[in-house]
Assembly symmetry: C2
Homo-oligomer: 216 residues x 2
């Protein structure tokens, strides 16, 4: 029974990694879509979000059924509870990539991102991609030291958001309020995306060590 249990745990992790791969593609494509006003790419991100939701739904059902059948205690139970929370965070990351793609679609055929913010949006996109990739390594290998790095990468994302908002509010800003509001929301989506990756890394840290991750 125990072996079957650990096999099932591994298959849960495999599904988390499948979600992480889809989310990585989603945030990467959403960033390209919003930078280049690429409607087709935006539509694909929006459609693919359903796949992420479906994996989460099926995975949660399997996790709960595993709880019911195996009646795990102590650390195994905590691991399953943590799995449910990780899949909820992953699902939300997919939503946030989807929100960015929707901004691209909403402004098409115009570009949602004004020239002077292209670099910083590209940087937020790269940071998000890097964070989700690192988070996937944390999930795959229960890598506690890498978990702490995700927190540092998130600080970088927060700095990028502050810089973007600073640009919107500077005297040099000569775009419309609409563009400012769009970009404020976009920066918020990237920042929340990154927060959820941190939350996942922290759960892995806690499950592995029994302690809360120290603040970076």
């Amino acid at each position: 029974m125990r072996d079957l249990f650990h096999e099932e745990l591994e298959s849960i992790t495999a599904d988390h990694l499948k979600m992480a791969t889809l989310i990585r593609d989603a945030i990467d494509s959403a960033t390209k879509a919003i930078l280049n006003a690429d409607l087709q790419l935006a539509e694909r991100v929006i459609a693919d979000d359903l796949k992420i939701d479906e994996i989460q739904h099926a995975l949660d059902e399997r996790t709960i059924s595993l709880m019911a059948r195996q009646q795990p205690v102590a650390s195994d139970l905590r691991r399953l509870v943590s799995s449910l929370r990780i899949s909820a965070d992953l699902e939300r990351m997919g939503d946030l990539a989807h929100h960015i793609a929707k901004l691209a679609r909403m402004r098409f055929p115009n570009k949602a991102v004004p020239t002077e913010l292209e670099t910083i949006i590209a940087e937020m996109g790269s940071a998000a991609t890097r964070i989700v990739e690192k988070m996937a390594v944390v999930v795959e290998f229960n890598d506690v030291s890498r978990a702490l790095e995700v927190d540092k990468d998130d600080d970088e994302m927060d700095d990028l958001q502050r810089k973007l908002i600073g640009t919107l509010l500077s005297d040099d800003w000569n775009n419309s309020v609409e563009v400012a509001v769009d970009m404020a929301f976009a920066s918020r989506y990237y920042e929340r995306f990154s927060d959820h990756a941190v939350s996942i890394a922290q759960r892995v840290y806690y499950t592995e060590t029994g302690e809360f991750a120290p603040k970076a």
Copy 2:
């Protein structure tokens, strides 16, 4: 054993209601703080958010320990999993009230809300208060028909947000970009607050009926 189990379930619900009361006060006070540039009130909301987090933390520990001790199956297990998710949504609602209070604090001694948006922010605040109150009734009495009403109230919140964003983007808007960005974020916090209440109501609906709530 079963009786003890149901007593513990009731005590979990009692904690959810305690959180809901704190959140109701938080969103109500945050709205007053942002409308009146009331720093003291804003500080109180920010400090009280820790209480909500503490209740959630202790409650989740108790819920997981109940899972481990009682080894519930089928509907009882689903109820406990649902409890963990409800407390996560409640905790996030507390965060969102806290974000609104922080906007009030950040702009103090100025008012964060410009005169022409006072009415709509007040309406979003009232809607949020009404929604959290209704959600509390759903949680307390497992009230399935009331759960559907929460979804309708959320549509109203979405309309208010669209109206607010419309005002920011209209030709009549003559406030700064900073005010527009602040108000866009505030509206997003109210809208997300309401989404989490819907999510809680839908979980109760699902737990009670075994079916997903129909879209309002």
